[in-house]
């Protein structure tokens, strides 16, 4: 698991903030959204499209009738579409292209709609349209190809990522009760993993966080993936829910949907509300060269 942590950590450091540094030099346009392709020195490539909608609903459906008109307006989803192509190389570097797009898949709200859009709209030339990560440098562009800002990677962590890449193996999914042995090994290592009371195909892993809260993971034994992650506060309130939904396809098990939910108390009706960020994956591809 340390390799996963290092991948996460390095990627986070690589994708450092794009400081305001607007320049007028235009990046040459490309006919396709990403030029990144699998090479001999690459370990893994992920390519997918995402349509994401963010909106607000009450935690309890029964509270819908008590909503104020402001809260109902916040239920109008804010949509965003993007294309992603990301590479993890054997030498520990990460390249990625992320570009805003898929407008044909998004609704077209009227100009005078309340909600359904970001609160403080930006001028077109200030909007982040594309992110490129190359050789540890992150560059942000607007729709005209003008550079909005850039950031540098932390090269000191490349060694960790190299180690992480070494541990990415092809490895198949274990069958039947064999995966139970994996879970049992973790139990014997001291982790709290039990079968879910409601769904026998799920294992529930409860971890006590350093801050007194809990991290609860639901593991689908058939997919052998963590499908749901929940944060619970020290006082027992659910803080976040992150859930992936998968489908079996000819090319394997692929993600279809990601749901992310967090909570707040609305000042309008004093109702406990949820912020939903739901994403639909399309055209998901994974290539490995390990």
């Amino acid at each position: 698991m340390k390799h996963i942590v290092f991948v996460l950590g390095v990627a986070a450091l690589l994708f450092s903030s794009c400081r305001e540094d607007k320049q007028v030099d235009a990046r040459p346009t490309e006919s396709s959204f990403s030029a990144l392709t699998m090479t001999e020195d690459a370990a893994v490539r992920l390519r997918y499209d995402m349509i994401t909608a963010t909106f607000v609903l009450p935690e309890d459906p029964a509270d819908t009738t008590d909503l104020t008109i402001e809260e109902k307006a916040l239920a109008t989803p804010v949509y965003r579409g993007k294309r992603v192509n990301q590479m993890v190389y054997k030498n520990g570097t990460v390249d990625a292209d992320m570009e805003k797009g898929l407008e044909e898949s998004l609704p077209d709200y009227p100009d005078n709609a309340i909600g359904g859009k970001r609160a403080f709209p930006m001028a077109e030339e200030d909007q982040l349209h594309r992110i490129e990560v190359r050789g540890g440098t992150v560059t942000c562009y607007n729709a005209e190809g003008e550079i909005l800002g850039s950031g540098l990677s932390n090269t000191g962590n490349i060694a960790y990522l190299q180690t992480a890449v070494q541990h990415l193996g092809e490895g198949g999914v274990l069958e039947g009760e064999q995966f139970e042995y994996v879970l049992e090994s973790l139990r014997q290592a001291g982790f709290d993993i039990v079968d879910d009371a409601q769904h026998s195909n799920l294992a529930k892993w409860t971890y006590q966080r350093a801050d007194g809260g809990q991290r609860i993971l639901y593991i689908d034994k058939a997919l052998q993936k963590i499908t749901t992650r929940i944060n619970v506060s020290a006082s027992g309130e659910t803080e976040t829910v992150s859930q992936y939904l998968f489908e079996e396809t000819d090319s394997g098990v692929v993600p279809v949907v990601h749901r992310f939910v967090t909570y707040f108390d609305s000042p309008f009706s004093e109702t406990r509300m949820t912020i939903r960020k739901v994403s639909k994956f399309k055209n998901f591809e994974i290539e490995k060269n390990l």
Binding site: M1, K2, I4, V5, L8, F15, S17, V44, T54, E70, P77, Y79, K82, V84, Q86, V88, M98, E104, S105, L106, D111, N112, I114, G115, R118, A119, P121, M122, A123, L128, I131, G149, G171, G172, V173, L174, Q178, Y181, V182, E184, S185, L186, Q188, A189, Q198, L202, R209, G213, R215, R229, T240, L245, P255, F264, P267, F268, I275, K277, V278, K288
Partner: protein, 484 residues
């Protein structure tokens, strides 16, 4: 002799008359005007010198508000008080054209009712002719034990959300709150009360249409490619020209950073989609089984050593305990960071939505339906399945299955949206209108503060175009101002 002397007298008189006419400081064609700014809290006021010096119109500004805002004119006396205070300036004058923005327009209208026809025409620019619902919200009682207005209570709660999440918003909320507090301040409440919708003053002014020609100039911020919001409203309020973008630039950068963080974390989490859970443990288990180190678990005759197998796996898992804990903590932090950023975004949305709805009669809000492509159906499915499997103890497995089935139905959803009429971020179009106008002019992409000013660097603007047509007299001679 008598005839010759009379001719001499007549010639002298004629010469005197001609000389007097040429030397008179008030040329016969010069138009009398009064330019009435709004309250400094809600108006940047006019720049009459632009139209005198740059556009060469020939007028006398009887109220020199540009250099001394209170010279004969003090809007802080309230509508009726200011009109009474102003009247001596116009008393006895002839053919005065009144040009007013914001609160100044209410004063002008009141003056035109009570004068002796000195005011002969009015140009009403961004005037709350029907009152202001937004001002009513700002000044309205919160209903609780606190003396704060409802808007102030909401601001406090939005601020609370942002503070809990350390939202960095360039102090937009703080600036907006300062503005709201100024309007709602007890010392100012009697003045701003005149602007409230459905108050006695507004009703009295509207009891009859003005009996002199008047033109309406109104502003709005909607439309394609506008980026106006309360951020730009606060920028304009703090700007000399109405067009500074210091706050908007700061907010844009913060929003980009927030979006960047959300995207970064999403990239990180989605890398994990390509990995099998605890691959190293799975791989070890797989290799132990395939190499039959402890026998073949699928062969009942091989006496598979379950205990030994588990012991080997457990020892390996134990060696990974610290990295696993690091992973669990980091993974948890990523989700908490995403939650915090989302709450910051929604807090901004709450304020923006609340303010937009404040400008209209919420009971009469128009609801529209927007057709969406099938790819945009996910919120519809989330909503549909949440009603069945949500609540405080949700069944997330059934919820997830429901969503997948819903998506497979490939429904193209319809999305309900609430629609707002055109507005300038303080007044709606309807609030700026007044029946019986000689002509109406629309200042596109102008917020309330920008209506009385021009774009920097431009020699012409929407406001210039409106004034040019009016001052030409083509709409009505009542608005005419000659060229120098």
């Amino acid at each position: 002799m008598f005839v010759t002397r009379n001719k001499q007298y007549l010639f002298i008189v004629l010469c005197a008359l001609i000389q007097a006419n040429l030397l008179s400081p008030l040329h016969a064609q010069t138009r009398n005007t009064i330019w009435l700014d709004g309250l400094q809290t809600t108006s940047l006021g006019f720049k009459p010198s632009r139209y005198y010096d740059l556009k060469n119109y020939d007028f006398e500004d009887l109220v020199d508000t540009e250099f001394n805002p209170n010279a004969g004119y003090n809007p802080w006396l309230g509508v009726e008080g200011a009109a009474d205070y102003l009247y001596p300036i116009v008393e006895g004058q002839n053919n005065v054209l009144g040009i007013a923005h914001d609160y100044g327009g209410l004063i002008l209208r009141d003056l035109a009712i009570d004068d002796n026809d000195e005011i002969s025409a009015m140009i009403l620019n961004g005037v709350p002719n029907q009152g202001s619902s937004a001002i009513s919200l700002v000044m309205g009682d919160s209903g609780g034990s606190s003396s704060d207005s409802r808007m102030q209570v909401i601001l406090d709660e939005v601020k609370g959300i942002k503070q809990d999440d350390d939202c960095k918003d360039c102090n937009v909320i703080g600036q907006f709150e300062n503005w709201v507090d100024e309007i709602a301040h007890p010392d100012n409440s009697s003045v701003f009360s005149d602007m409230k919708s459905d108050n006695v003053l507004i009703n009295n002014l509207n009891a009859e249409s003005p009996d002199i020609p008047f033109a309406i100039i109104w502003g709005s911020v909607q439309g394609v490619n506008t980026n106006q919001s309360i951020v730009t409203l606060m920028d304009s309020r703090a700007s000399i020209t109405g067009n500074d973008t210091e706050l908007a630039d700061c907010v844009s950068e913060r929003l980009r950073e927030q979006q960047k963080k959300l995207d970064d974390d999403e990239l990180i989490k989605n890398i994990g989609l390509g990995l099998t859970l605890f691959k190293s443990i799975v791989e070890l288990a797989g290799s132990l089984i395939s190499d039959q180190v402890f026998g073949d678990p699928n062969d009942d005759d091989s006496n598979f050593d379950t205990g030994g197998f588990l012991e080997a796996l457990a020892a390996f898992a134990d060696s990974l305990k610290d990295p696993i804990i690091d992973y669990l903590e980091s993974d948890s932090e990523i989700d908490q960071r995403a939650a915090s950023l989302l709450r910051c975004q929604v807090a901004n949305q709450m304020l923006s939505v609340k303010w937009e709805l404040a400008m209209i009669d919420a009971g009469g809000t128009e609801v529209g339906l927007v057709d969406a492509p099938t790819d945009a159906a996910l919120p519809f499915c989330e909503d549909h399945c949440w009603e069945q499997f949500g609540g405080t103890t949700p069944d997330r497995v059934a919820w997830g299955q429901c969503i997948l089935e819903c998506l497979q139905n490939n429904q193209a959803p319809q999305i309900s949206v609430y629609l707002t009429p055109d507005h300038d971020l303080l007044l709606t179009k309807q609030e700026q209108q007044l029946a019986g106008q000689a002509n109406t002019y629309h200042l596109f992409n102008h917020n309330h503060f920008q209506e009385s000013r021009d774009r920097p660097g431009d020699n012409t603007s929407d406001l210039d175009d409106a004034f040019e047509e009016l001052f030409s007299g083509s709409v009505s001679p009542a608005f005419a101002i000659p060229q120098q």
